[in-house]
Subunit: 668 residues, 2 copies
């Protein structure tokens, strides 16, 4: 079955790849012209069609309308309703078995949500009860609209921290509590509006610009900032700094050693130790997840009981104090869409919106991947956004899917979003009947609960993995981390995102070029730096360009190619016998796009090379590149058929056969 | 000479490429295992070495120290002096023949520089004489430091316009002329400092972010803004708006029709017609370049004589008025590095610096390419920057290489930078002795000279070329154009740069993926959309990814690959007999880099595919990608030797031979 050149196999060209090897092995010259496959442009499309296609890839990469294709009208309506309300997808198949799982997991996350809700609201400088309100309405809405089965919705630490710190820069939560609350609700509204718009406009890819490295650094930094804030309640300090950074907080803490309360510190250490211990146990044995899940509520109950019995509030241990009973009051009349703070609330809404969206989507995707179902990012954004918009008019502040609680939810065996409903109902019962019980809950326990929760955000193994694989990503991570703890939460994040984008631009501005050599005994041409056995073909300089050619890199490519040519000459002088350079071959397989600057670059390069008696050969231009070269071809003669090949192998074979046997070195 | 599998050719593997074709042609199964070439990582390098190499490619792509290598010490010193003062390169070989050419071209550009200098200074709201000062000192300095032989240095229209408009936003040139002048010199200093630093720090690639399309749109818009400003002198309006945009200027012009002076308009039309006619003639016959080059000076002389003889200044024709005689006074005492305007001058310096640098470098490169010599961008930046820094302390405002004058210089036969010296000396003579002659020069002629000069900046054929080749670039061009004429010069530019960068980021965020098929009769696999004859290999989904895989696109790639897989299944159902999907092959030849998010993506993809009984196969990972995959391999088993191939052909050959003959469709 082995094909032979010249007989039947020459019909299908199978033999062509083999012929040329003999040329540069110097054995003999083969006179049979090798078969060459033409390079063609993709089928022509109109500009409008191309634009439509590009738009589709940009905004609808997941093709959400696919399922509607070819369905009858009624079915389409039903599918649309299912698309908007995912509850219609799983609701009809819901059964008692699933409910049993959901009620266990719902109660478990409720026991976590109640103390965390109170704590996080305090982190955001809001009344503790707002944290419980926010664990009641939003989970209900998410259960109807959301497509994740594991997300446990409620307030989260980082978004709470950012909202509190940004608003506090302009309004004092202690001096103007009502205004502060109004601004918090309005920021929540804008966060929700922004999130929903991102989803609706299908611009969800914006959150992809927060890379994994950025997020790990940012989360770790935020965890430290949050923990530092807890020094207030853990040490019992009354006059705490309103700044967030590492340095001012530490300075403030050690300036006020006189305010430290040993009773508070002792109690804090006990409960912090207890919580960390339970966390450690659960991490070691995931089956015992309920130990760490139940620990916060147990700590709250124990400490409250302790304070109540020993009247510890009279001995320097600060307590939450009286909380109002009853469900969420409406708050739409508290939204302020005018006045001097509008800029502040929009900015706060934007940043908390992005951050909480990123957390929610990442958590949803993580557990969807574990259980092998799909989460539609843009749909999730709409769900989270609507949830926050409704929340803002029912006395809730910004909420999303929390990582720690979702993990507990997943471990506790949650099957559907009904676990969120169970949690919500539990919180409702608490709000209606159990609020007086929290009167004596000491703040120090809430601090310990927050510290234990955020410690999980510091992911040292992941950081080590990044260090091992990509040093630049590690630098980005460090920038995010130190930016957050030393400058500010928002600026740290902005710096890290800026550096990540700069790296991408740098890759485009300085694309890699590689000299290719022939892998002996094959038709393949590979980077001769990577594949040491690859041999150069005399007379040919074969370069691959590994990025789109555009305005940002044409100048560099010009410099770089002339450097490659100098290196070629230099090597040629060093080596004994090697014919002069006749062809510079650009292997364009990795050039995914080209713009007008890139086309001019190729035209100029061709002219410059011709002045040196060197021919420019293009190999395998991809669809879009080929199209643009064709359009630019008039007058520039860039695409002579004998300077354009489908593969390096064919090009070398075809051009070698037409090469002059020897050329003097002088005119290279 | 045809190799045969199984005999001598199997030693060097020549036959391997041919074996597998028969598998998917369905003819028969070959039992001889095809030879597979291993994928290797590039030779290991330390992180420091990699960093050094990356830094070199980023900052020293042209390898400027190459010429110093292996030279003796004295020679090195001489080369360094030549590097800093290019005049030492050509000075020693200078001769009378060259001087003859240079004196002709120098006098020609002087005749253009004198009227243009006066006009552009007025455009920048500066005293006219500053324009002449700026045509005296900077060309001298450039002649010593610059490496372009054709650049004619002096004030230019766009930088003048921008400096004037930016400074006028905060300081009135009529009410506080001294302060305005001080700010102009200080801005010039910062522009020079900024330009020189860019060159010194080798960050010259920053100007590459101004793409050709952006520049064409920007230049055309700026030309229109500049021309609109000339309506003041062309119509003889006294009270002209201080705004620059199209709409306010037109409104102002038609509000003040009572101020229009028919004498001025008549005179303006005559000279504008004359100048445009000479421009047309010179464009038709490039040999007659001297007609358009001399026309401005002739117009100035004629009109001045006319005004002087007929006392036309008493009939509504405004004239320049008395100009001071003498050379540049020192101005270092006028530089203000403190006070409330520091931010303004730094911003103005930055923007005029970037714009004038871009023009200077582009002009230098254009003529260097025509005459086939090298211009070192970073060195040019230092030369232009130093020239402006010295200029700022000798009463000059920002200067650079002007396009129109450099073209005249080139056409007039300039051989070296001596033509700049000749021009400079001519301007010096003018400053010393001829200034009284300009007293009666009418402003209307200066307006006509500016309009004629900037009309050449509107490049309609280039705009048409962009429209033909790249519609997106055309949109960028339109944005720059309309941004400049409707919003403001700086913002128009910023918008266009922003859109260009956004396009690059979009290309990264939504990388192209293509399904590859086998080009019949070869070992090549190409995009089956572009090459209609390419045939799919049953059981294989071969995808090429055409961008670096990083945080910005992993989510998209996941979606896109699952869509490709759905399409594959769908096609399989439509087609009659086709075995189920067994391998998803990612052809990574175009993936020039990968980051930690990208590595996680591949790991996750492998796991997700395995759950569907599909194997992930990687083909030809490039050096950096291979390195990172190797580092990430521990525990993830991503790089199993039988799932990693050097070419698609080898992979298909090797995997087909181990494929089960038929698999049920159900578990795909």
């Amino acid at each position: 079955m082995e094909p032979r050149a010249g007989d039947e196999s020459s019909k299908n060209g199978n033999g062509s790849a083999n012929l040329h090897h003999h040329h540069f092995m110097g054995v003999e010259m083969d006179t049979i012209a090798p078969r060459v496959h033409p390079v063609v442009a993709p089928p022509p499309r109109t500009t409008f069609k191309k634009f439509k296609c590009r738009l589709k890839e940009t905004l609808f990469p997941d093709d959400p309308l696919r399922q509607f294709k070819g369905q009858p009208c009624g079915r389409k309506l039903f599918l649309a309703a299912q698309y908007i309300f995912p509850i219609l997808q799983w609701g009809p198949h819901y059964n008692l078995g699933l409910f049993k799982s959901d009620i266990v997991s719902g109660l478990t996350i409720a026991s976590l949500a109640i103390p965390q809700g109170i704590s996080y609201a305090k982190l955001a400088n809001l009344p503790p009860i707002v944290g419980l309100y926010s664990s009641f309405v939003p989970p209900m809405i998410y259960a109807v609209l959301g497509s994740s089965r594991d997300l446990a919705v409620g307030p989260v630490s980082i978004a709470s921290l950012i909202m509190g710190s940004m608003l506090r820069q302009e309004v004092s939560p202690t001096k103007e509590p009502l205004l502060f609350l109004q601004l918090a609700f309005t920021s929540t509204f804008f966060a929700g509006l922004f999130q929903a718009s991102l989803g609706f406009l299908r611009l969800g890819f914006i959150i992809d610009f927060l890379s994994k490295a950025t997020l790990i650094g940012f989360m770790a930094g935020a965890a430290i900032i949050v923990s530092l804030q807890q020094l207030k309640s853990l040490l019992g300090i009354v006059h705490f700094t309103s700044q967030m950074g590492l340095i001012p907080v530490m300075a403030s803490v050690f300036h006020r050693t006189s305010e430290w309360s040993w009773q508070t510190i002792l109690m804090g250490c006990c409960f912090l130790g207890l919580l960390l211990l339970t966390r450690h146990v659960s991490m070691r044995k995931p089956k015992l997840f309920w130990i760490s899940a139940g620990a916060p509520l147990v700590s709250v109950i124990l400490s409250t009981f302790f304070v109540f019995v020993f009247k510890a509030q009279r001995h320097g241990i600060s307590v939450i104090g009286k909380l109002q009973e009853g469900l969420n009051p409406p708050s739409w009349n508290m939204l302020r869409f005018h006045g001097s703070y509008l800029g502040l609330v929009i900015k706060t809404g934007f940043i908390t919106g992005i951050i909480s969206l990123t957390e929610g989507i990442a958590v949803g995707r993580t557990f969807a991947a574990l259980k092998n179902y799909q989460v539609d990012g843009n749909k999730e954004m709409m769900a989270i956004g609507l949830m926050n918009m409704v929340g803002s008019s029912t006395s809730c502040y910004v909420t999303t899917g929390a990582f720690s609680r979702s993990a507990v939810n997943h471990n506790a065996g949650a099957k559907t979003a009904v676990s969120n409903i169970v949690m919500s109902v539990t919180v409702m019962v608490t709000l209606l009947f159990l609020m007086p019980l929290f009167q004596y809950t000491p703040n120090v326990v809430l601090g310990a609960i927050i510290v234990t929760a955020v410690i999980g955000l510091i992911d040292v193994p992941a950081a080590y993995g990044i260090w091992k694989i990509d040093k630049f990503d590690f630098v980005v991570m460090l920038c995010a981390f130190f930016g957050v703890i030393l400058i500010s939460v928002q600026n740290g994040l902005a710096i890290a995102v800026g550096i990540s984008l700069f790296k991408i631009l740098l890759q485009i501005t300085r694309p890699k070029t590689a000299m290719l050599g022939n892998v002996p005994g094959t038709d393949m041409y590979r980077n001769s730096h990577q594949y040491k056995e690859a041999v150069m073909v005399p007379g040919f300089l074969i370069l691959s360009i590994e990025a789109p050619i555009n305005f940002a890199n044409t100048t560099y490519l010009k410099d770089r190619i002339s450097r490659w040519m100098e290196d070629y000459d230099y090597d040629a002088e060093g080596a004994s016998k090697c014919s002069g350079l006749e062809f510079v071959m650009l292997e364009l397989s990795a050039v995914s796009a080209i713009d007008t600057s890139g086309v001019s670059f190729l035209v100029d390069l061709r002219l410059a090379l011709e002045q040196k008696n060197v021919q420019l050969v293009l190999v395998n231009p991809l669809g879009e590149v080929m199209e643009k070269l064709q359009k630019a071809n008039e007058g520039h003669n860039l695409l002579r058929q004998d300077r354009l090949y489908l593969s390096v192998g064919e090009a070398v074979a075809s051009l070698s056969s037409s090469m002059k046997p020897q050329r003097p070195m002088a005119d290279v």
